[in-house]
């Protein structure tokens, strides 16, 4: 009984699908169908072109900046220049010269 019902339902469903195909015929394309496609293609190509140009400009600017930074780092700078930042080790060495040790024995100890 269950199988029979399921079979009937399947047949009914197939009938609905067939009717649906007939109820949804292919619409006729409008007169603007082709011109609109080409318009969309051109718009997409234009945006791709501008994106490409922007990307090339960005890459060139990045390359120029990298070269400038490399050149700046390569050129030696004087220590008293305002752009020179001494490292921690250098600052420590300057503050603790060998001829002025931190520890000085007191007179009692001597």
């Amino acid at each position: 009984m269950e199988w029979k019902n399921r079979g009937d339902e399947n047949t009914e469903l197939d009938g609905w699908f067939r009717a649906y195909r007939e109820a949804c015929p292919a619409p006729e394309p409008s007169a603007n169908f082709m011109p609109e496609i080409w318009q969309r293609i051109e718009e997409r190509q234009r945006s791709v072109f501008y994106l490409g140009r922007w990307a090339r400009t960005f890459a060139t600017a990045a390359a120029v900046l990298s070269l400038a930074m490399a050149a700046y780092l390569y050129i030696p700078h004087e220590r008293n220049s305002i752009l020179y930042v001494e490292s921690y080790v250098e600052a420590l060495a300057a503050g603790h010269a060998v001829d002025s040790p931190d520890f000085e024995p007191s007179m009692d100890e001597l």
Binding site: A19, Y20, R21, C24, P27
Partner: protein, 199 residues
């Protein structure tokens, strides 16, 4: 094949006239498939144009002209899927906004304007759309391609790049869900009929 392989190869090289010919040959079929997949006549042309736009920009990725038709179907399926996913929420809210009385009133008004056949076709579209809304967008598309478009499992295999058994299982499950929706709809209709008779 609606066009010869040579034409597709020429379109692949970027020849505009060849691409135009390809579109002219396939546009009617594509419009029909989309009309059945999305069931919104006002948006069919827009989705079809999106399909051909995608075709234009991906034609160079097509390895052999022999697989052009499954390739075009795949683009159609993807565009329809994107459309359905984007519009699902809008469609749901539009349906829920209408009360039963409003729907009946709209039906009665529409009935006065359109002839009997057109009304019947509209009913068929609405009924099948309601049944297909019981499954996901992906299953709706698969079922429509198989049951309404009449594509074979072999053709579906080429479109989906999935083996036949996986497709069979998916189709079976989708069909079961649609059958359940059909059964529930019939029960509901019978229930409403009884309630109205009692009133």
């Amino acid at each position: 094949m609606l066009v010869d392989f040579e034409l597709i190869k020429r379109a692949q090289t970027g020849e505009s006239a060849a691409f135009n010919e390809v579109v002219l040959a396939y546009r009617k079929r594509t419009l029909g498939t989309i009309a059945r997949l999305i069931s919104r006549p006002e948006d069919v042309e827009d989705v079809a144009q999106e399909v051909f736009l995608r075709l234009y920009f991906s034609l160079d990725q097509l390895r052999t002209a022999e697989v052009f038709e499954p390739w075009l179907y795949r683009l159609t399926v993807n565009a329809a899927y994107d459309y359905l996913r984007k519009h699902r929420r809008r469609m749901e809210s539009r349906m829920s906004d209408l009360s039963e009385q409003q729907v009946m009133l709209a039906d009665a008004q529409a009935g006065g304007r359109v002839d009997h056949d057109a009304r019947q076709q509209r009913q068929v579209r609405e009924t099948v759309d309601a049944m297909l809304s019981a499954v996901s967008e992906a299953d709706r598309i698969l079922l429509t391609l198989k049951e309404v478009e009449g594509l074979s499992l072999k053709e579906l295999e080429k479109i989906y790049r999935v083996n036949e058994n996986a497709l069979k299982v998916r189709l079976f499950r989708a069909r079961q869900r649609v059958l359940k929706a059909l059964g529930d709809g019939s029960k509901e209709a019978r229930g409403k009929g009884t309630a109205r008779a009692e009133v």
